[in-house]
């Protein structure tokens, strides 16, 4: 509790004690009135002051003025009619207790989220002439070598110069498995060094470093308001005047009607009392506080899981996503080539074929060569390789252990004059099997004889299949895969993952067009068959379209989709700029998680809207009918607010979604 809150608490206690004490005092009415004014002013002076200032500044009605009118009215009624002064004081007291609770709850969730996002480094260690110096990370220039001790946070992005360590990146990515780093590896700020001393040469300034960027992003996220938040702001603006008009009518109309009726006397006191109660209930605090709090907590909870949502509006859009368009390379697949099949001719082993190809590709830096060498292992490093010749568009020729080995495509084989191979591999003589799997085929020949074929393809991420099924479970109706790859390769991946809609052989520009036509015309698209009327044409459909990419080359598509999701974005500025939602690691399962978090958040927002407005309306009705008094009214009001705030805080817990 801060000073202000403590101050309020003390006032609450004093006024409550005085109120209870006064229950045992019985004196004449004017004396009692003066005595009750003491606790009333102790608890309510600031509200009366604010109400007064509001009138002086010609402000529209606010809750301070409402409370002031209601309680002063109750006092006046007590003086001239009931003699029950407790009510005015109690109403003010409850109101203040509610305000205090609200202020504490908000402060607490602010701190909670602050702790969750505890990646802001305090200082950087620099090795100076006289030992280690601690400096403000802001002052560290690019290219400085900083020292990170075990247990410390890396303050600035950089490259490891010296030392090995396991890094805990869970605060950034939500990934609990530590990442090990060696000299030459990139480390990002905000990760925690778990066990080794590291010397890191910084590659960015502190302001530009990952940790600073993430913090900035999360802090600014709730500035972009969602439709629900705007709705509540507008609602609060018309609501208060409406209730005041209602109260005035309630105070005037029924007594006047009674006067007009023959044989009835006007019960002015009763109706004015009801009108005042009406005012007490009317405060819209529960709504106004609980909605932004829900979004704030939702965004905070998501960022803990390595999902950065750039604004409440995107969280809202994410919950309405029914179409997810995914890029293949880098999103569903690793974007790295690996050997997935080795088919030697009869008489050769798989290993022999692989070694031969790997040695021939010994000096190439082509991704295919990397994949071959990776699969062959260290054994490929031995043996003599000479006369390496790369033939553009064909492959490579080299002399390996005295044999002339050629590796490349079918054209290369023809060039090498490889025997025993025809254009149609199926059933071809000497070809032991018919590799039908998708991928790039590397044919190998040795001394003019066909040796076999190696299939290299982009590997599907282990979690991609799970991601697809989880997305479907999260309510995504259409899953579409886009890729620049060949049709066969694309369809093979899609089939393995259970994706039915595939658009292949797309150029980067085609992807933008595809996404636009999908998000605009999907309602009238024959394939979707949702039976939407023609008036919905032109892209005003309810479901939103999300595009998921790895942030490389697809920035235009990311910004064109309703929700652009970039993944594996750690350290990639372009992706963080272009996307609306940023997944810190490259696990596609997080897409479904993001959708579920947004769903939970929106559910709680809706609950709060319905619950708070519902209870308010119910109380107003009961009060107009004279069924509840001011006590019950204030209790309901504070109670609704407390429940709504507690419900909002629930959004913070997203771990098990």
């Amino acid at each position: 509790m801060n000073r202000k809150q403590k101050h309020t608490l003390i006032r609450i206690i004093i006024s409550a004690v005085l109120l209870i004490a006064l229950c045992f005092v019985h004196l004449s009415r004017p004396v009692m009135c003066v005595l009750y004014l003491i606790p009333y002013l102790v608890i309510g002076y600031d509200i009366l002051k604010k109400a007064g200032k509001g009138i002086i500044n010609r402000q529209p009605l606010d809750e301070n003025l409402l409370m002031a009118i209601a309680t002063i009215g109750a006092m006046v009624l007590a003086v001239c009619r009931t003699g029950d002064f407790t009510e005015a004081v109690a109403v003010m007291l409850f109101y203040q207790i509610g305000e205090l609770f609200q202020s504490c709850a908000v402060g607490r969730s602010r701190r909670n989220i602050g702790e969750l996002m505890d990646i802001r480094p305090d200082c950087a260690n620099i090795e100076g002439p006289d030992g280690i110096e601690q400096v403000d990370p802001d002052e560290v220039e690019i290219g400085t070598v900083i020292l990170v001790q075990p247990g410390e946070k890396v303050p600035i992005d950089g490259i490891v110069e010296d030392g090995n360590a396991s890094m805990d990146t869970s605060a950034l990515t939500g990934e609990s498995v530590p990442r090990s780093v060696r000299p030459g590896d990139e480390v990002i700020s905000g990760s925690i060094d778990m066990n080794g001393v590291l010397r890191i040469r910084t590659t960015r300034e502190f302001e530009e470093s990952t940790a600073s960027k993430i913090l900035d992003l999360v802090e600014n996220a709730s500035s972009r308001k969602s439709r629900s938040e705007n709705f509540i702001s507008r609602f609060a603006r018309v609501y208060t005047p409406a209730v005041v008009i209602g109260a005035v009518l309630l105070a005037l109309v029924p007594p006047l009607v009674q006067m007009a009726m023959p044989g009835m006397s006007a019960e002015w006191g009763e109706w004015i009392y009801r009108a005042l109660t009406f005012l007490v209930i009317s405060c819209p605090c529960a709504l106004v506080i609980s909605i932004p709090l829900s979004f704030f907590a939702g965004i905070g909870g998501a960022s803990r899981e390595g999902i950065l949502v750039k604004g409440s509006n995107f969280l809202e859009a994410l919950s309405a996503v029914d179409t997810v368009v995914m890029d293949k390379t880098g999103t569903l697949t690793k974007g790295v080539f690996e050997v997935t099949g080795v088919y030697p001719r009869q008489g050769l082993t798989q290993d022999e074929l692989l070694q031969m190809a790997a040695r021939a590709e010994m000096y190439s830096s082509h991704p295919v060569a990397l994949a071959l060498r990776g699969a062959a292992g260290d054994a490929a490093e031995t043996g003599s390789v000479e006369d390496v010749e790369e033939i553009a568009g064909h492959g490579v020729r080299a002399s390996v252990d005295g044999k002339t080995v050629c590796a490349g495509n079918m054209k290369m084989m023809k060039l090498a004059g490889a025997e025993g191979i025809t254009d149609a591999p199926a059933g071809a003589e000497g070809l032991p099997c018919t590799p039908e799997e998708a991928g790039t085929r590397i044919h190998v020949s040795a001394d003019g004889r066909y040796a076999g074929c190696i299939v290299i393809s982009d590997v599907i991420k282990e979690t991609s299949a799970e991601a697809v099924s989880k997305l479907r479970a999260a309510g995504v109706k259409r899953l579409i895969m886009l890729t620049g790859d060949a049709k066969a390769a694309a369809e093979a991946v899609a089939e393995q993952l259970g994706i039915t809609e595939v658009f292949s052989e797309l150029l980067p520009g085609d992807k933008v067009e595809k996404v636009e036509s999908l998000s605009g015309g999907a309602g009238t698209d024959g394939k979707s068959g949702t039976g939407e009327g023609p008036e919905k044409k032109g892209g005003s459909r309810k479901g939103k379209l999300a595009f998921v990419g790895d942030g490389i080359n697809d920035a235009p598509v990311l910004s064109r989709a309703d929700v652009g999701i970039a993944m594996g974005a750690l350290g990639s500025d372009a992706a963080i700029e272009a996307a609306d939602v940023v997944l810190m690691d490259d696990n596609p399962v997080k897409i479904a998680k993001a959708i579920r978090i947004s769903g939970k958040c929106m559910r709680i927002v809706r609950e709060n809207i319905v619950f708070a407005i519902g209870i308010k309306v119910l109380c107003l009705l009961l009060c107009a009918l004279g069924l509840v008094g001011m006590w019950a009214a204030i209790f309901a009001d504070v109670g609704v607010m407390v429940l709504a705030v507690l419900n909002a805080i629930r959004t913070l817990f997203v771990k098990n979604l």
Binding site: D46, R110, V288, P292
Partner: protein
């Protein structure tokens, strides 16, 4: 030009009122108040002097919500 200021305000509704008041101030192109982060982000009109505009913003905010503060 955009600048972010730290603010102090107690209730969400008051933050909304501050936002409205700030937006009505001359020289302010767009202002957003983030109640949860207690920050006000102000985009100034071309050629406006932030310091003087913000003094005015603070005055207007004080008018609608007495109990608020903007740290300039």
């Amino acid at each position: 030009m955009k600048k972010t200021y730290k603010i102090e305000v107690d209730c969400a509704n008051c933050a909304n009122k501050m936002e409205l008041a700030a937006n009505k101030t001359e020289g302010v192109k767009e202002a957003t108040v983030n109640f949860m982060a207690l920050k006000m982000k102000v985009e100034f009109e071309e050629g406006a002097e932030p310091q003087t505009v913000m003094e005015e913003v603070r005055k207007n905010c004080k008018k609608v919500e007495d109990d608020c503060e903007i740290y300039l």
